[in-house]
Symmetry: C2
């Protein structure tokens, strides 16, 4: 039955993709007429690009999910002998609540430029139903202790194979949600980047689920459900995102907007929680994690941060190069200095020093991995830049699979 549901889900996903394609074409002129567009800062022409087109795909996604929801439960409908699997339906509905409110938040942000504190609070609260359902469904909050750690501690204390970290696990899941909903938004600004990275991650996570389904014991119905429910959410997302990428890739005919970034991040986070692989999900977010860590000094203003950190466009050569931030040495805080010294030493930062009006100035590349690619690769065409970033994302996937399926077996006796 679960397999049939998966096939129906895949069919609906294809249908959703077709509808996305038509609706995007349909709504491009409407967006322009309503003045909902952005201007591409890395192009010679200043033609308006409709934004946020992600809301159209997100709406189609929700519709596909609404139509799909009853499918996995058909065998119980009209069947009075077996009790209805309430916990499973609860899992799906709680996931959908988080996703639909993330879409609403993203769309509101696109339209209103919400304040930061509201943007952080809303996804945290909207994930409460999800975490509550996780709790009442009696889901595990135990983590497996790596074999090596147990060996190390053996002379002192005999560690158990698993430890129940209880509420810390909920805090971790909450952080996964907040991180994911913002991570894609931070790594953005190049044609096709937001949709492309999401597409790579969702395709990778889908593949991961399929691999797990194949490896599973036929007895393990719980595991089967976890990876099925992930795919129920992921396949329509991957399909809708693929269409969006088609329009968003260089040269962008549409921009995806914050709507897409929140939708995408929340969907991936939800899937990992419902599928019980939130730790594994983080492996697929390695490029985003590096970008986030590298961005911290500017995000938290240890180092001055300009309004935009997009690459700089040179219309003469039709290439983009790294954008820079210029500031007085005296503006730099202690943590900023530490970070600069460390990054400079390992060659991860472009630094120029000069004097003006008797004061020492620094000029460094803006702290995103996009600018880091341009530091090492030099000026390049925007589509090349996006290809390099996609290649990094795909390498991330390869590393994730390597860690999850090879390294993990070295560190853990038991792998779920």
């Amino acid at each position: 039955m679960s397999l049939i549901s998966l096939f129906i889900n895949a069919g609906l996903s294809v249908g959703g993709a077709v509808i996305c394609y038509r609706l995007i074409l349909d709504y491009i002129p409407i967006f322009i007429a309503r003045k909902m567009y952005g201007n591409d800062q890395c192009k010679v022409s200043n033609a308006p690009v409709p934004e946020p087109m992600g809301v159209i795909c997100a709406a189609v996604y929700l519709i596909v999910m609404f139509i799909f929801i009853p499918i996995p439960f058909l065998e119980w409908i009209g069947n009075e002998t077996e009790t209805f699997p309430y916990a499973k339906l609860l899992a799906i509905l709680s996931g959908l609540i988080s996703i639909s409110t993330a879409i609403l938040l993203g769309f509101a942000d696109d339209m209103l430029d919400l304040r930061w504190r509201h943007k952080l609070l809303f996804p945290t609260l909207s994930s409460l139903p999800l975490l509550m359902v996780y709790y009442v469904s009696g889901n595990s909050t135990t983590v497996i202790v790596p074999t090596i750690v147990r060996h190390l501690f053996q002379p002192i204390v005999l560690l158990p194979v698993t430890i129940n970290i209880s509420f810390i696990y909920y805090i971790f899941m909450g952080m996964v949600i907040v991180f994911c909903t913002n991570a894609i938004n931070i790594l953005a600004g190049v044609n096709g980047l937001e949709s492309g990275q999401s597409l790579v991650i969702s395709a990778s996570v889908s593949l991961f689920n399929v691999v797990q389904l194949i490896r599973l014991d036929s007895e393990n119905t719980t595991g089967f459900w976890h990876h099925s429910i992930s795919l129920y959410f992921l396949l329509p997302f991957t399909a809708c995102t693929a269409v969006l990428f088609f329009f968003n890739k260089y040269p962008s005919r549409v921009f995806v907007g914050d709507t897409f970034c929140y939708w995408s991040g929340m969907t991936l986070a939800v899937v990992s929680i419902l599928g019980h692989f939130s730790k594994t999900l983080m492996l697929f977010f390695i490029p985003q994690t590096i970008n986030f860590l590298y961005s911290i000094p500017q995000l938290f203003h240890f180092i001055p941060c300009p309004r935009h950190r997009l690459p700089k466009y040179d219309p003469k050569t039709d290439t983009v190069s790294m954008s820079k931030a210029e500031f007085k040495k005296s503006e730099l805080k202690t943590l900023g200095k530490l970070f600069m010294t460390a990054c400079r030493t390992i060659g991860m930062l472009h630094v120029e020093e000069f004097e003006k009006d008797g004061e020492l100035y620094y000029c460094i590349n803006n702290l995103t991995i996009i600018n880091l690619v341009l530091k090492f690769g030099g000026p390049m065409h925007e589509s090349t830049l996006n290809s390099v970033l996609m290649a990094i994302q795909v390498s991330g996937t390869v590393i994730a699979f390597f860690i999850r399926f090879y390294l993990a077996s070295l560190f853990y006796d038991v792998v779920e």
Copy 2:
């Protein structure tokens, strides 16, 4: 426990109202800066009025609900002896999904002017989870047969006291949802009207629930739950809407937008379905139902319909009067003629006839109860008009209570 939950819900509602008040003040300049405003067509000044402010209140509403959700279930948390009431949590979550997608739809409509078919399709589909949960929770689809009908049919056939109308009941509930999400949107355009009517209805339905709770047998835990869950959704809604009305009443400092109309309609529909009083809810929508029936000829174009049907403003007297639609007699369809003749006969239509270029023209009032009030009452100040409409809405409530608690007992042996 349920009572404590109700008090906590009421407390959170008050908190929500305070936050709404602050956020509206906070976001008024942001809406203006982002060019999200409308112009009040019934004012001398053409100052921009922020729109759709409903989205701010709706977001606060969702947050209040997210915080509240765990409360009614606290007694089961950590209690392993009793099974968790999954069906109850499912009911709340499915209601929230419908509401949050209605908010998203409304906001998208405000920003994009969605096509009609998309606007009808989306709420229908987003209510699927709600109806599915209704189904799997084994909820009743029986209706009580009026005593008088049974007596009439007695010589021919012995009708049962209740009839299970099965899937027809689901179609009815689906229609309630589509009707409610659009009914408030159709009766709109006067300062304070959208928020005012919703406030009257939600306060009335809340009162109805309280009355039912008081009348209930202490044994009737199901009934207790139905009216409690209604109040869980209604109290925060009433509180947030009251604040919105404060800003939206004459002279409007904010407009509520389609966002509010969809949110409001969906919330009331959801509440009636979860509380098992969808037929009773229709009684509270009497003014909206009359407005809808009266509007049908223009909505379905039996009679030509101008772009706007708002009352006409006269800056000299600072009053509004009925707006009119002018069209050739030859443009009128058969159904339109029938309607005009019928309404004219009973004095429910203002009709002028005149000739231009040898053709006969009609000029009639636009078909809304707003214009009907102005036909009977003559030109009046906009705030007076809204007060009259509010009075009509309150009378509707009185009639609803009369029908529900007095007339129904004459027609039905058993009243739920």
